[in-house]
């Protein structure tokens, strides 16, 4: 029997240090309660906190594994139960439908069962691992640093919506600090200029108009000047000097207004310019960061939501930065300046003016949080709607095929209803808010009139002062009102930037190495050393060890869910192994720069994705600098050249988002050309031919044979016939390698592979053909538009 059965390899936890006391790594409150449970000299191995009790009510429990015992405490007041380790044969974790269990099994019975929500499932898995290691005699079970000895994520209080995320935008503002400073100086200038005109009303009334009026009265009432002509002459004289002074004030008035306008204009332009750049930076940074995130992040996020975050949320922030922020600074300056001027003119009147200010401030603060939450809900509802679009538009064929248009319309309507609901709530708040502020400003005006009139009657101030005050107050209150209106857009922007930072704060899926190992050319020797990968609590790859020599073709065989795709994802470093390592050419792939490493890997997937662009661009996707000769050569080798020539624009033909104008086989061959062009040392074929009929498969197979030559290849296929060229077949089951060998040997061994092969043969015979059913073979690859 040439086929070898690979034993489940032993764990080697080299990263763990034996002496490290785990207790100190626990967060403060947990550490105390754990320490209270331990006997002297007993050392801690692992801690797990189930969050449900046996009635499935929420309850923080505690499971502690030490070198002697397994301890359990369900809830703060519950009694402690403990089992000596020799009683416990096994720990096992399960989760299903959001509910997880952790069971401790004795040799004859179940000792205990803990319940948990799925958020803690991976922590439960860690507990199981710790136990297994302990049982296997590898004493130290110190969890990895980032593992769940720290409090599970669900525990951390989510930060309340606040303006803190807005302040974080300063990171993006720093790059444009010069322009921002200029903008701010201009704001200051225009604000100062804006304060001049009302100030001029005071001397205008008190020094020009009133004296003139007094003079006229005086002339009329005086007995010294007899004849009317002399009187009129005196008044005229006064009028001329008065006019001259009025002229001076009015010119100054106009000049100040002009200056304020000009400065305001330049300032607006400068700040709009800056904010446009800041929001572009924000978009770029977010998108660039998004590209570094791991595949499972995209697996859990809805496309529409991400699109909404990068497009509409940055737009809101841009609006905030260009309009609101500038206005805010200007308004605050204006208010402070006005208040200063008012106080300098007359403190009592100033106090009367400012009396409504605290009420407005209180109202603003009070309603602010409610508004932000409302806007956050609104944003989420909006994202939900765009997600729906991003879902159903690509899937429109399925929608139509199942005649579900009505239901989709209903779903869309429901999503819109949620938007309405969320917005109604917040609208109710601000519609109350603005008129309330307007009302308060009216009250303020009233108070100023009352106090002002009283003061004029008591000759404490002149009419000129009162007029100047009223001129200022108009400005003051309109600013104040504008300021309160800004609360809305500020809170919107805060909610938006929070959604953006949610992306930005997420660490990249696979970290770049600290000390990268350069690689020029790789030979393609792949070695999996006891590689394991866990997805949540599920062990997808379990201690796989495999050596692939350069140029060898490995066929991965196994039932659906056996972990074949995950294994190649590990080789491509889409995920990092949770245990063990993947080595290429004698180096751990984690020490290569990611992009440089992937440049040596060619991938052909089951559903080839073509980007919006020409065919030439799509073929050259992995190497944009490729010459036309290279592109044509790759297309020829991939058997794509001739059908491309038949397209009306040849290599310059546009293919849509999902390449809808090409058939499945054609798209697949383009993707093979794409992989060929980068001349990879390692080639991954993930079900490359399973989505096409057998006739097309033959054509693709020829293309693939060209591709495979001289490269280390890992191919996954359900149809075992497609793997006939493989040097070795590796049979996976439940994440483990169970058989390795050549087709004939494996068949002779009569193991799992033989079973799979027999089953396929049988199926083929039942359908009257040695191979799986064949669609009507078209004479040429069909080009029927969209039949993909």
């Amino acid at each position: 029997m040439a086929a070898t059965r690979v034993p489940h390899a032993e764990h080697k936890k080299t990263t763990l240090t034996e002496s490290d006391p785990t207790c100190n790594q626990l967060p403060e409150p947990l550490r105390e309660s754990v320490q209270a449970l331990l006997a002297p000299g007993e050392s801690l191995r692992a801690v797990f906190q189930p969050d449900l009790d046996d009635r499935l009510h929420f309850c923080e429990g505690l499971v502690v594994l030490t070198d002697r015992r397994l301890l359990s405490k369900e809830g703060p007041d519950a009694e402690v139960r403990s089992w000596p380790l020799h009683q416990v044969k096994r720990l096992q974790a399960h989760d299903r439908g959001g509910l997880g269990t952790l069971e401790a099994l004795g040799s004859t019975e179940r000792l205990h069962c803990w319940y948990l929500t799925v958020g803690r499932a991976s922590a439960a898995g860690d507990m199981v691992d710790a136990f297994d290691r302990l049982a296997a005699g590898h004493g130290s079970a110190k969890p990895d640093q980032d593992d769940e000895l720290t409090v599970p994520e669900g525990e951390k209080p989510t930060a309340p919506v606040n303006l803190r995320s807005l302040f974080r935008l300063f990171r993006f503002a720093r790059a444009h600090s010069t322009a921002l400073t200029i903008g701010l100086l201009l704001t200051l200038g225009s604000t100062a200029a804006g304060l001049v005109p009302p100030y001029l009303t005071w001397p205008l009334v008190d020094k020009v108009l009133e004296p003139f009026q007094d003079h006229v009265k005086q002339v009329h009432s005086s007995t010294g000047i007899k004849d009317t002509e002399a009187r009129l002459r005196s008044i005229d004289q006064e009028r001329v000097t008065g006019f001259r002074r009025v002229g001076f004030y009015l010119v100054a008035f106009a000049a100040a207004a002009l200056l304020a306008w000009a400065l305001g204009w330049v300032q607006g332009w400068v700040l709009a310019w800056v904010s446009e750049r800041i929001s572009a930076d924000l978009r770029n940074t977010t998108y660039a960061h998004l590209q570094t995130l791991s595949l499972d992040y995209f697996g859990t996020k809805r496309t529409g939501d991400l699109v909404a975050r990068i497009s509409s949320d940055t737009d809101r922030i841009c609006n905030f930065l260009s309009d609101t922020l500038v206005d805010f600074v200007a308004d605050v300056l204006m208010i402070v300046g006005t208040a200063a001027v008012l106080i300098s003119i007359d403190p009592i009147l100033a106090a009367a003016t400012l009396c409504t200010f605290p009420i407005i401030a209180w109202l603003t603060v009070h309603l602010r949080d409610r508004m932000t939450n409302g806007f956050l809900h609104g944003g989420r509802a909006w994202a939900e709607m765009t997600s729906l679009l991003a879902d159903t538009i690509p899937g429109i064929r399925v929608v139509k095929a199942f005649a579900q248009e009505k239901r989709e319309i209903e779903r869309f309507r429901a999503a819109n209803l949620r938007i309405i609901g969320a917005n109604d709530r917040v609208n109710r708040v601000w519609t109350f808010f603005w008129p309330a502020v307007a009302f308060l400003t009216q009250i303020g005006l009233l108070v100023v009139w009352v106090v002002g009139a009283w003061e004029v009657f008591n000759s404490r101030v002149t009419v000129g002062v009162l007029v100047a005050f009223l001129a200022y107050i108009g400005r003051f209150y309109s600013r104040l009102e504008a300021l309160s209106r800004m609360v809305t857009s500020t809170q919107k922007a805060a909610a938006s930037s929070q959604r953006l930072f949610e992306i930005l704060d997420r660490p990249p899926g696979v970290p770049e190495p600290a000390h990268p190992v350069r690689l020029e050319k790789i030979r393609g020797a792949i070695e999996l050393r006891n590689a394991s990968f866990r997805f949540g609590s599920r062990q997808v790859i379990d201690g796989v060890s495999l050596q692939v020599t350069p140029g060898e073709m490995i066929g991965l065989v196994g039932t659906t869910g056996a972990g074949k795709s995950t294994l190649v994802n590990l080789v491509c470093r889409f995920y990092d192994v949770s245990d063990g390592a993947v080595w290429v050419d004698g180096t751990d792939i984690r020490s290569f720069p990611i992009a440089e490493y992937r440049r040596h890997i060619g991938i052909v997937l089951q559903d080839p994705f073509l980007f919006w662009g020409t065919i030439a661009e799509n073929i050259a996707y992995g190497k944009p600098s490729a010459t036309r000769a290279e592109i044509v050569a790759a297309a020829r080798a991939a058997r794509a050249h001739e059908f491309i020539l038949q397209l009306s624009d040849g290599y310059d033909s546009m293919v849509g988002e999902r390449g809808h104008t090409l058939s499945g086989g054609e798209r697949q061959r383009i993707s093979i050309a794409r992989a060929l062009l980068i001349d990879p040392s390692i080639l991954i074929l993930d079900e490359a031919t399973s989505s096409v009929d057998t006739q097309t498969e033959r054509e693709i197979q020829e293309a693939l044979d060209n591709l495979v030559r001289g490269r280390t290849t890992i191919a996954i296929a359900h149809r075992l016939s497609t793997l006939r060229k493989a040097d070795r077949l590796v049979v996976l089951e439940h994440g483990r390698v169970i058989e390795v060998g050549q087709h004939a040997d494996l068949l002779a061994a009569g193991g799992r592979y033989a079973q799979l092969y027999q089953a396929q043969m049988q199926l083929g015979q039942e359908l009257g053909s040695p191979e799986p059913p064949r669609a009507l073979p078209p004479p040429l690859p069909e080009r029927d538009g969209g039949e993909a």
Binding site: R628, A629, E642, L645, G650, D652, M654
Partner: protein
């Protein structure tokens, strides 16, 4: 099918049925071939493939400059007879009608009008060219948008 065949003398002629016949350097001849540009927009005069009636490539000319003048002229004439890509020189007006729009244009082949199904059917080509694909799949080219007259540019700006 080898690439260096292009530098070798090939001959083209039409047979009595009007079919194009290519005679390769080794004396082999193929009847009924059709010249096809592999990169009609990005490299029109390179990578011209001669395909037989069933679509198989007989010969690929990487650069027509390598041909002798007579053959090159023959090839150009043959391509001109097969290709119909009017070049838009002036846009008279565009009538919006619901989804599609009707374009009235002056091309190098005379005045015409065509219907453009959607905005996606206009795309930029190169730095300042544009390509319009009408509802029948006919391609209209604009070599350089900035070199069009002001009126045409104003219309185009709404679409590009």
């Amino acid at each position: 099918m080898s690439d260096n065949a292009a530098s070798l003398p090939i001959r083209l002629h039409h047979d009595v049925f009007g079919r194009l016949v290519v005679t390769l350097a080794n004396g082999e001849s193929h009847v009924g071939v059709a010249p096809v540009r592999a990169f009609p927009f990005s490299a029109a005069d390179q990578w011209i493939s001669l395909c037989d009636e069933s679509g198989h490539e007989v010969l690929c000319l990487t650069d027509v400059a390598e041909l002798d003048t007579r053959t090159r002229d023959q090839l150009a004439a043959e391509l001109a007879r097969r290709e119909f890509v009017p070049i838009i020189q002036h846009i008279q007006r565009v009538v919006e009608g619901g989804v599609a729009s009707q374009w009235f244009v002056t091309t190098d082949r005379g005045d015409t009008n065509f219907s453009l199904p959607s905005e996606d059917n206009i795309r930029r080509m190169g730095s300042d060219g544009a390509l319009l694909i009408d509802s029948h799949g006919i391609r209209f080219r604009i070599i350089s948008v900035p070199q069009l007259d002001a009126h045409s540019r104003r219309i185009l700006r709404q679409y590009l």
